[in-house]
């Protein structure tokens, strides 16, 4: 508590300096536009950035998806209608991706729909267990918190290069396995093991983030609720399912939505680690879009944009369903 107020005091002092200059200016502005329009004054800087660097790119992408050529500027690009979408949907048999002209698009989509549920489930499961452990009255709590959060601070490129180095044929893991008498495995050569490590490494790198959020949620649950449960000699499992889970539900929902969105966006780690291989076993949608639109020559911005809009549509539908479910849950 004291640390927090100290921090607040410090921020206050720093904030006071430029405030001297801005205050009269903003006051003049308030006189000029009137108090009713002040919220817009507060909103405009952020909104400008959002419009310029988030919404405008999406609209440009929409235009890209219906135009051809490898030109960057929209005014240089001829309209070609739905040709890019038609290319993506050009399949001999919709049940077999090998018959599709853009089979990698469908494989990436398939991989993403397998990867996301598995990764999110493992991520939230592990993060929840870790948060529960860290929320107990144990020794070295701060130390353990630090340990679990540390990988979050490493850049994706570093995480990938580090694990690639550990998992390679002559890497540390195989060295360790040889030392204890196990047969070394060439981890990144087999589709199944490569997929396993993709999930493992992304969970390893990001679970600390969700652990901390869940831990915060756990700490917000009043102690006396548990005390009451103990009076009734409820089992730990029972107090978990009857008290912890229901009270944690709102936080879990936030964690769930964030985890899904970030899981769908997974790119850097796997691009460096496997390049989407073996074959296309770990190629996810964002990598497909990156390769088509950026790492190829000539760059097919149109096809990449069409793929990205289909991905966006899928995400939007998912979020809508999610909101419907959570709203339904709230009514119970």
């Amino acid at each position: 508590m004291s640390a927090r107020s100290q921090f607040a005091a410090a921020t206050g002092t720093i904030a006071a300096l430029p405030a001297r200059l801005i205050e009269p200016l903003m006051y003049g502005l308030q006189r000029l536009v009137g108090i009713k329009r002040m919220p817009w004054v507060f909103l405009i800087p952020n909104l400008t950035a959002v419009v310029l660097f988030a919404l405008l790119p999406v609209f440009i992408n929409i235009f890209y998806s219906v135009s051809g050529s490898d030109r960057l500027f929209p005014w240089d690009r001829p309209l070609i209608g739905g040709a890019n979408y038609a290319t993506l949907f050009d399949c001999g048999n919709y049940l077999d991706p090998s018959t599709c002209s853009r089979d990698l698009f469908w494989r990436a989509l398939g991989n993403t729909t397998v990867f996301v549920p598995i990764q999110v489930t493992v991520m939230i499961g592990v993060a929840l267990i870790t948060a529960l452990c860290l929320n107990r009255e144990i020794r070295g709590r701060g130390f353990f918190r630090g340990i679990f959060f540390f990988p979050v601070m490493l850049s994706p490129v570093v995480v990938a290069l580090m694990w690639q180095w550990i998992l390679q044929r002559n890497g540390a893991l195989n060295g360790l396995m040889g030392a204890v008498g196990l047969t070394p495995v060439n981890w990144l050569v087999f589709p199944n093991t490569a997929f396993f490590w993709s999930v493992f490494i992304t969970v390893w790198a990001h679970m600390g983030f969700y652990t901390i959020i869940l831990l915060a949620g756990l700490q917000a649950i009043p102690r006396d609720v548990y005390e009451a449960a103990r009076m009734d000699s409820a089992s730990p499992w029972r107090s978990f399912t009857k008290i912890t889970l229901p009270l944690l539900k709102p936080v879990l929902l936030v964690v769930f939505i964030l985890a899904v969105i970030r899981s769908v966006q997974t790119f850097d780690e796997l691009y460096v680690l496997t390049g989407g291989g073996p074959g296309s076993a770990t190629m996810l949608m964002v990598q497909y879009i990156y390769e088509v639109g950026f790492a190829s020559q000539p760059r097919n911005f149109g096809l990449a944009a069409a793929a990205s809009l289909l991905l966006g549509l899928a995400l939007l539908i998912f979020t809508a369903i999610q909101m419907r479910i959570s709203r339904g849950g709230a009514n119970d």
Partner: protein, 361 residues
């Protein structure tokens, strides 16, 4: 007597571990917790520790298989008549004796060696009979090579990374909190739409809009400029979301009272709301620092000149078309992660208490 002593220390260690706040005895759930956390410690931390230890290995030591636990280097000796130091080997002779020889040259399965005490006579030894003499050696030259191979540019990279991280974070904090203030403390037409517009951007992967974003940056004339990386990243939707949730919990009476005192809206925001939002600001600051420091793809496209490189770009450039320089890479990894480790140790407690008090609901 000795037995008693052992028991005593044993029990005191046991008591130390099993002692806990509140109750005296550990039950099975506590044991489970410890087992889980120790397992987690191994999985989460050994890879990092391995990188730090390996960053002190020589390139030759790094390519060895099976890898050595600690950094080793071959012991060398200077022999008369040879300019370069020669590596030493323990050689088992045919009679079963072990002699220490210096290697001149190795050709496949045989090596030419000499006795440092008697440098005239050359011996041909099968490689399988020779064991390199090694000692623990910390290859600090990985770090000094890093400095020299970047031609002293590393300080420029550090400056660029720091500049981007600090400036972007300050702008993010101010802009996001202004927007959050407007969206939490005013009722006005279009507020829902603005909120939805900001939060919807959460779903746009940066990679997917890389090309249009680059085009806009180019149109603004910011290619190769650090601002070309800062401006596209400042309007973080999570920041607005967290700050707004927090500000909703600040009682409106405070604002009403300030208005009675004829405080301007800006003054209310700057003097009342902002200081009260400090915990949430700390959380947003930490997330912003982490993501800006680790940003990769946008800087890769926008910052094209070496003097505008960030640390992460410099790091990636050690993995070139001609292979990966693991010695430099590992040293650089350790160096880039260190500042964050310190920042985290310093700010750690604000993260949980901060998120807890944002009252995510």
């Amino acid at each position: 007597m000795t037995d008693l002593g052992v028991v005593k220390t044993g029990s005191s260690i046991g008591a130390f571990i099993t002692r806990r706040r509140g109750r005296k005895k550990l039950d099975w759930t506590d044991w489970l917790t410890y087992v889980y956390l120790l397992l987690g410690l191994v999985i989460m931390f050994t890879p990092v520790l391995w990188v730090v230890v390996s960053s002190f290995k020589t390139p030759a030591n790094l390519t060895e298989f099976p890898p050595t636990l600690l950094p080793y280097a071959a012991e060398t000796v200077i022999v008369e008549g040879h300019d370069a130091p020669l590596p030493l080997f323990d050689v088992t002779t045919e009679e079963g004796e072990t002699v220490r020889l210096a290697q001149l040259r190795r050709v496949g399965i045989n090596a030419q060696m000499i006795d440092p005490a008697n440098p005239e006579e050359r011996l041909t030894i099968p490689v399988e009979n020779a064991q390199p003499v090694r000692q623990i050696y910390l290859a600090g030259e990985n770090y000094t090579n890093l400095l020299s191979s970047t031609g002293g540019m590393i300080w420029r990279y550090v400056f660029n990374s720091l500049f981007i991280t600090i400036v972007a974070t300050i702008i993010t904090l101010i802009m996001n909190s202004m927007a959050a203030f407007a969206l939490s403390k005013y009722r006005f037409r279009g507020s829902n739409m603005a909120l939805v517009a900001i939060l919807a951007t959460l779903m746009i992967p940066a990679t997917v809009v890389l090309v249009p974003t680059y085009m806009i940056v180019a149109q603004l004339g910011l290619v190769g400029n650090l601002w070309g990386v800062i401006l596209p990243t400042v309007a973080t939707p999570t920041g607005v979301f967290l700050l707004r949730q927090y500000m909703l919990t600040i009682p409106d009476e405070l604002i009403e009272a300030a208005r009675m005192d004829h405080a301007s809206e800006w003054r209310i925001f700057w003097r009342i709301i902002l200081p009260l939002s400090a915990p949430a600001l700390a959380v947003v600051a930490i997330f912003s620092i982490l993501s800006r420091w680790n940003d990769f793809l946008l800087p890769l496209v926008v910052l094209t000149r070496r003097e505008s490189y960030t640390l992460q770009l410099a790091l990636a450039s050690f993995s070139t078309e001609y292979g990966i320089r693991y010695d430099l890479l590992l040293a650089m990894t350790t160096l880039t992660a260190l500042p964050l480790a310190f920042a985290f140790i310093f700010l750690q407690r604000y993260i949980t208490s901060g998120i807890a008090s944002t009252g995510i609901k």
